[in-house]
């Protein structure tokens, strides 16, 4: 476990875990004392994007915001975890010589790090955080431009403002985004208006992570639903109607 500003990076050694694709996720639970926290939770395992895959270790970015993330943040070196993964559909590389424009918000920057590690094209990285301690998380990626809500680090404003400026400068890009629902909805709307392809890594409350419970759905453009766990978590923005505020996960 390493500290990274307001976040922690959990490193898990799992010899049986196949190498993940950028954008995939793992269900995690502490092997001991999973439960009995605030409101007798957590109960379900929690879904985390792979943030990095290095020397046979999977890295996950943690933000202590609920009973599940709290318990995971308490893990000490050598503690055992229950894991299931890697799961879901990851990112695909840009086509037609476009550059990759990575847009992340808060703890949602995690899958963009492993994506940066795997991309060989030109990359621009824009990250948004609430404040300076959280903005220190930007060190997970290399060469990121940062915006903060309170102006305490980087640009004072939203990361989606940076995105709009970048696309105005050069719209020959594929956007890769992960972050809170309102940020993703703005990214989706901007990219739709500019005709820019966008791949969004979504978060949703999940019971299982492998397609069994049908709990993690988001509305699909044209009707019906997509399961974030097996149809995503990375979903082409053109397939989505809008991303709603409640599309978060139990923490």
């Amino acid at each position: 476990m390493d500290e990274l500003g307001a976040y922690r990076v959990l490193r898990v050694s799992d010899p049986h875990c196949p190498e993940p694709e950028p954008g995939q996720f793992t269900m995690l639970a502490a092997a001991e004392r999973w439960g009995g926290g605030e409101d007798e939770r957590p109960y379900l395992p929690r879904a985390f994007s792979l943030a990095r895959w290095q020397d046979g270790e999977a890295h996950y970015l943690l933000d202590d915001v609920g009973p599940g993330t709290k318990r995971l943040c308490e893990l000490a070196a050598g503690d055992q975890l229950w894991t299931l993964g890697p799961l879901g559909q990851g990112f695909t590389a840009p086509r037609d010589g476009r550059r990759a424009l990575l847009v992340g918000g808060g703890v949602g920057i995690a899958p963009l790090a492993i994506l940066q590690d795997g991309l060989e094209c030109e990359i621009t990285i824009l990250l948004g955080f609430r404040d300076r301690p959280r903005a220190e998380g930007a060190a997970l990626l290399r060469g990121a431009r940062v915006a903060t809500d309170d102006g305490s680090a980087g640009r004072h404003g939203l990361v989606t403002d940076l995105l709009a400026e970048e696309l105005e400068r050069d719209a020959q890009a594929t956007v890769y985004a992960c972050g809170p629902a309102p940020m993703l909805e703005t990214v989706r709307a901007i990219c739709a208006a500019e005709g820019v392809p966008a791949q969004l890594a979504l978060e949703a409350g999940m019971a299982c992570g492998f397609g069994a419970c049908f709990g993690c759905v988001v509305p699909k453009r044209g009707g019906g639903y997509l399961r974030v766990c097996v149809d995503g978590p990375v979903i082409d923005a053109a397939e989505l109607e809008s991303i709603e505020e409640h599309a978060g996960a139990p923490a």
Partner: protein, 303 residues
Amino acid sequence: MSVEFCGLQLRHPIINGSGTFDALAARKALGAALDEEFPFAAYVSKTITLEPRQGNPPPRLWEAPGGLINSIGLPNKGLAGYLAEDLPELATLPVPLITNVMGSSAAEIAELVQACDARAEIAAIELNVSCPNVKTGLDIGADPHQLEKVVRAVRPRTSKPLIVKLTPNAADVAACALAAQEGGADAVSLINTLRALALAPASRGGLSAPRSLRPWLGGRTGGLSGSAIRAVALAQVAAVAERVRIPAIGMGGVSCAAHARELLDVGARLVAVGTESFRDPTAGARIARELDPGPASPTSGSA
């Protein structure tokens, strides 16, 4: 510990609860490992309705103390889609297949049952009677009189074993079980989820923020499952097993062999695993193994 259930010979007494394990999706996501040791001795499909259903609007899940509240809304391809697309693939599973169906009237249920009866891939049929009657609005399974009438009307449509999945949201579940038996059911299964409500959390601002009185789930109320309901399940299964002659499938919050053993001890013939399979897709196999570790293996002791 092979078990006889309504004429079916099962390898062990652990099956899945309807709607808690999508064998086709799990096979895709988890790969061949799952087929090597299929977790259940029989596979129960999710609920199939006459017409396709998209399911309820999200959010569909809420983590409750020691459990889960879901309001999924029975998404499925409808009877025709199920028979044409899913059934041939489900038939390749290495265990007998139980198809779960739901209708909002005796006529609808009869149509579903008759269509399932015609398919050799289906070993048994389970009726989900936790559905409001279109005329009365009351759950068909919550009223013993109505339940007996429906089962009696449907019974002649199939020679396959007919299982009635009872609702726990009834005044007297044992009376409902008896009604199912009198109507001609071959078995009952219980408990389904308990009706439950979760309010949307206050948004940012913590405890000082005004508390929302809005239901969190898109379907407003949902069904509570998981460890939180295990003691309720034990009481209801015990009450039902005392009252009926037909076998009972017990379920509710089972996550290890000790829990399964309790349900078997109070009279269940089989035990179903539900929410625990969300947490661990191999739970069924683990519990079956724990129940019956098999003959002791020779050890390499040294003197």
